[in-house]
Every structure is written in C-alpha cells, then in structure tokens.
Amino acid sequence: MPFRIRTVDFTATGREIVRERELEQAELSIGRAAENAIHLPDLAVEQRHVEVLPAPGGKLRLRAAGTLGFTLDGRSVRDATVDPGEGSELALGSYRLQFAREDGMVAVTIRQAAEREGGKGEALGGFSLAHVLPGKRPMAWAGLAAILIAFLALPVWSHLNRAPAEPDYDRPGAVMMDASWRTGALSSVHHGLEDQCEACHTEPFVAVRDETCLACHKDIADHAAQPRQAVARGPLGRFEAAQWDVAHAFNKPGPGACTDCHTEHEGAGRMEPTRERFCADCHGSLDARLTDTALGNASDFGKAHPQFQVVLNTAPNQARRQRISLAERPRQWNGLTFPHDLHLDARGGATQMARRLGSGNGYGEALECSDCHRPTADGVRFLPVDMENDCESCHSLVIDQVGGVYRKVRHGDARQARAELMALGRASRPAIVTGRGRPGQYGEGGLYRAEFGGPATGAALLARAMAKEGLCGECHTPAGGAGSLEVMPVTQPSRYMIHGWFDHEEHKQEQCTSCHAAAESGSASDLLLPGIAQCRDCHEGESARAAEVPSGCAMCHSYHPRTGAAAAPPRIARR
C-alpha cells in the first residue's frame, strides 16, 4: 500500500513548510534512527519505535517495536489496528502523526506540537466539582457571616442600644431578631410579653432577677419571714450543692428565687404548678431546723403529711377558736341542736314532711343534703344554712292566721319575737264555727260569752319557747334568763382548714355521704369532716403512679401568703 508522507514544519517566523514524499512499500517503520521510513528526531522516541503493517480490509496495524508503547488517539497502547478511512492520530514524543486515506494512498501527516500542551492541568481541574461550584471557603465564610450577623450581632447590638422602658404588654419589642433566641413559648399569663424579651431579660448575662418579677407582681408576699425561711431550708445534698455552685458561677440567683419554682418558656398554655419536691426540700424535715414550728413535716401527700387540723369552737363563749388535729376527734360547739340522722332517716318524720311538701316546693321523696346546704356561686364551698330558706318549710314560726294571712315570729330578733308573742293574745280569735252565732248573752259581746279554744295565747307560747320542745329551744341554746328569748350565737364556719383549700366543685361527682358521715350523726357537735385517710383513697403524692389522682402540694396549698380568696391556689382563686 503506498504511503504519502507529508511533513509540516514551521519556520522561525511561523510560516508553514509542507514537504511531501511518496513511498511505495507495504510496511513503514517509525523511530529516531535515520534508517526509519519516518524519522523523528526526538529523544523521547525510541530508535525503532513503531512498525506499521498492512492489515485485512485496507487497515493498518501499528505495533510497538521496542519496549515502549505509543499513544493512539490519546490512549497508551502497544498494538492497535487503525482504519485510515476513519482516521487516527499517533503521538510519539512531541510529534503527532495523522493517518488518513487520500487518492487510494495512506497519507501520514507529521507535525511537531508547537510546545508541550499548555492548559492541560487546567483542563484536568474541569473534572472536579470545584470547576462549577463556588469554593467551600467562600460558602463557609458567607454562611458564617450571615448567621453571626442575623442571630448574634443584630440582637446584641439592638439590646444594648435600646431605649429604657417599663414592661408593657402593649408595646412592641425593641430588640431585633431576638425571637430567634426564644427557647419556647411563654405561658398564657405572660403571652403578651412574647416579643418583649427585654422586659424580663433586662441585663445581658444576668439571669432573671426577683426584682424583675416583682415589678409587675407587686403584692406577692414572702412565703415566711426571714431569717426563719432561710433557717428552714433543708441542707443541700452534695450533688445539689455542686449544682448550685455551678449555677452561682454562672450568675444564677437562688436558691429561693422566683425562677427556681416558676420556670418559663415551657410552652404555651397554663404555667405548670410548682413541683412537690420544691416544698418538700424544706417541709420534709422542717422540725429538725425550726424546732418551735407548729407545722408537721410534709413531703408527700400519700406518704408523709400530717393529719388535717381544723379551727373551731369546742365550747360556748370561747374567746378564740381552737386549732385541733382531726386525730384527736374534736367535737365542735356551734350553738345549735341538730341531729343529721333524724333528718336523713328514710322512714322518719322529716322524710314524710319532705314528701308531703313535694316537688312543687323543691323536695323529692326524701330529704336531701342539697335541700338545706346550698353551694357558693363558685361551687368551692357552701353557704351557711339559712332559717328562712332551709329550715322554715318544716320548722314553721307561724303563730296566727288573720283572714287567710299567716303571722309568724320574726327570726333572728329576740325582742321583736317577744313583742309579737306578747301581742298574740289580744287579737280576736277566729270563730270555731262560721256562719252561726250563739244566742243572747252567750253570743259575742254577751255576758256569758266564753272562749272554748286551747290556752294558745302568746304568753303561753312565750313561757315554753326556750324549753327543749319549745319554739326556739328546739334548735337553739338559751342565753338569757327566764322569760328571755336570747339564744347563744350560732357559728357555721365556712372553712375549717385554714392552710389547705378544698374545692367541692371538683368533687361534685362524688356523693356527699362518701366523705361526710351525716346519716350516722345524732348531734350537731359531731364534726362531719373526713380525715386524711379518706382523701388518700384517691389522692396520693405527685409521683404516686398507682394513685387515682397524683396530687402535688400546689393542688391544695398556696406558697405566697395573701388574704382572702387570693390566698387560694390559683386553680381555686381563679373562680
């Protein structure tokens, strides 16, 4: 197969010189030695490097003559077959030989690369992702700067440069971007301060102080007088002491700070009541430190809580009410005679009376507790039993009937009642038989006229009023001498327990009698209050898993002393 060897050279000025020669031979040899058909003066080329042999189908076989391979179309090979019709490029050292078919000949065009290929390193870099993405460092620096500015510099700068202002629910926050610092939603009572972090977080790196809380919560009093409260605080365990050391190192107030018990940012909704543990820290072993305390130790309602103590009168004319533990089975003196059992007896007179009065008067088949005991509007406690509303339906004070109108003794005013009774005899008595008069001197206004009624004059009633079965004495204890209608004052305490709070509303699905043993009580001096054991049927300590109602201290007790209903735990005070 004839070869046309075309050599392309460049002069120093860049002009191209093309030389052609034709070789009528079947094979070619390529190398550095001069005897090769194609002689390439490059030290990187071997003396006899490649042999070009004919191959079937007009193709050429290129074979390495020595130990070194050659580069064909960019790949390193030692033996290859090329089709000159398709073309191929052989690279040897700095020379490139292109094979092509021209006019039935194999044309070999030889060029020397002008220089070692520049920009190849750059091209190799193109394989990497770095070629199309911004560098990792610029990305990192940009992200770093964006985060530090938005989430750190901006809030700190605007917090330091804000105008001083009082906390105010209606004012928008003055610190920029600090919503991004919020660790959780505030409880519902503080919700209005949600965008005013600086209202509580007044100073940088200073934990929320009691003064800040008291700025709004002005009438919160201390739990106990100092230094008693400090003395009462239980000794810290080693671990707790270490925790406090760390907390103080980080500028935390306490122990005893507002924030120790009242934690915020715990999520929207009601603020969680303080946990039992915080109370038990001091009250669990109070007598060990406050040796003169009247309070019993308490750490867990189910396991360690003293029996309830009640405040009541135990005898008439007591100047001060007594505080006595239910364990001593105290009896109260309230000035009344009232047997609950008589009234609740299903076959007794009171039941019959209620049935006769009927549903038209608000009574059922028997006398119910609620027929006499009415809850307060908030449902927490009961109103005092009231003579006019709760007793008089049966225990009538009617003494006379005048023309279809009943006259009755005024309740609660001894002198008025006495006057009304005294006047009773003077009034005309109703005729025994209507429509007919006795004749002559026996008739009305006659000489022999006689009253045939019983001796029910006011004087007679008055004389017996204070007797056991009398008008007043049936229920009341006489206070004056003979002939006086004065009675001992009646006491109906609305609360017996002054430190704990009981909410009847929360227990209304219970029967009254499941706690108050009224049906077995024959005397008004019976104290019908349940003891702690009865409460423990359902209520046990906060951590008692088996309890029907796990109950922390805050369920019944309030930490901050206030007066009136405000002293109740928030759950009850809110009503």
Binding site: L68, G74, G87, T109, L129, I147, F151, L152, S180, W181
Partner: protein
Amino acid sequence: MAAVPEQELGFHERRRDSDHESFLAHKRMRWLKVALALSLAAILGYAFADVEPRPNGGTWYGYTLGTIGAGLIVWLALLGVRKRAMTAGRWSLKAWTSAHVYLGLALIVVATLHTGFQFGWNVHTLAYALMMLVIASGVYGISVYATLPQALSDNRREMTKGQMVDALAAIDRQLEASAQPLGRVDADLVIAALEQDPFGHGFVARLAGRYRGCRTQAALAALESGGTEPEHERVVTLLRKRDAQLAQIRRHMRLKALLEIWLYVHVPVTVMLLAALTAHIVSVFYYW
C-alpha cells in the same frame, strides 16, 4: 506501562498492602464501642436523671449533654486542621478519622437528648438542624466512598483524566482536518461542537448526567443523514468518536460530582454550624 502514572501505581500498591485497615474498622472498631457507650450512657442518663420540670436543654442534665455536644462538635470540626498533618501511631490520622466518624454519629444521640425533643423556629433548632445536615452529609460521604470508586475505576478503562482530555484533543484535531471539505452549514456545526467546552456545563447537568445543550450530539444528529461521500462519513465517524469520548468524560464527572458533593455540604455547613452554635450558646447566656 510508562503511561500509567505513579499515583495510580501507588494506589494499587496500597490496596495490596496486607496492613491496610479501613478507618471504620480501626483497632477492631474501638471508636464504635466508645460511641455506643457514650450514646447508651446519654440515653440512660436521660431516662433516669431527676430534672425539673421536664427534660430540656435548660436542666442540669441538659447543660451536661450540651457541654459534651459542643465539645464534640468543636473537636470533630478540628479534623479539618488535623488532617493536614498526617502522623502514625496512637493518635494517628486514621485513629482520629475513625473517632471522627463514630463520635459524630454518637452526637445524634447526645444532641437530640440535649434538645429534650423541643424544637422551634429559632437559632437553637437551627444549630441542631445544621448539625444533623453535617452528620447526614458525612454518612452520605462514607457510603459513596464505599461504592463509587469501583464505578469510577470501571469507567476509566485504564485511562487517566489527562488521557481522556488528550484523546478528545486528538479527535478534535482530526475533526478539524477532516471537516475541511464540508460546506458552510456543516462546517459551522463542527465548529460549534469543537468550540464547546466539555467542562462548561453546569452543576445540575454534571450531577444528573444529562446534557441537553450538547453540540456534538446536535452536529451528529444533523450530519448523520446529510450525505454518503467518504469525507462526510469520516466526519460523522469522528463525531461519533467524540461523542463516545465525551460520554466517558461525563460519566467520570458525574461520579466525581457524586463523590465530591458531600464535602460541599459537610465543610461549609460545619462552619455555619460553628457560627450557629456560638449564637446558640451566647444567646442562652445573654438572655440568661
């Protein structure tokens, strides 16, 4: 085999080395055991720690986990410094890398428990999310390092990247010469194909391996049905060769992109995480 570069030989030699041990299995998975122990301790502590009113980052246990987590994050990030100095022995780079991987995974447990499962749109959760992103990208990185190099090697067919570029250049030179007899329209197609930078395509094209704007394919489609003369056929053949060579280069780029992409997340997001972590810690103490 002079054309096989040294680095490739070195690579094979290292693989044959019987001493080779993956950083994952370093010292019989010592750091896996350490990481598991740490995670277990964190979980047990979370279950039994007496914290009020409920577990979160603001309890004594939360601060403890947070301190451990922050320390771990800083130490893990220091691999970027440490890896630039290779040493052997007890604190060899391999040991460090092994610890980096396993302690990084343990951080998932430590940091998640630190949150107390309270999340929100704030810088605290941002730091957590960035941390999880860094860990996820690291897990991805290990998984592709385990699977893709074989595919990369298969695609090479004993060519280096330089040879792939050289081969393309050789084809281009032949195309340039062979296209001389073509008419204006066809010549323009060939010029367009030759002028297109094989590395000029964007990030998405590389990752997906789809090159809609490829002019070589466009030229091929136009010329394939254009004529039957030998000059024309020669150009078409060369364009096919160019297309095949481009395909190999593109597969290589795609595999390399899949191999490298995780670092473009792992490294910058780590730095962003350090910023968010700083903001997280400072903000907590600032609004103390």
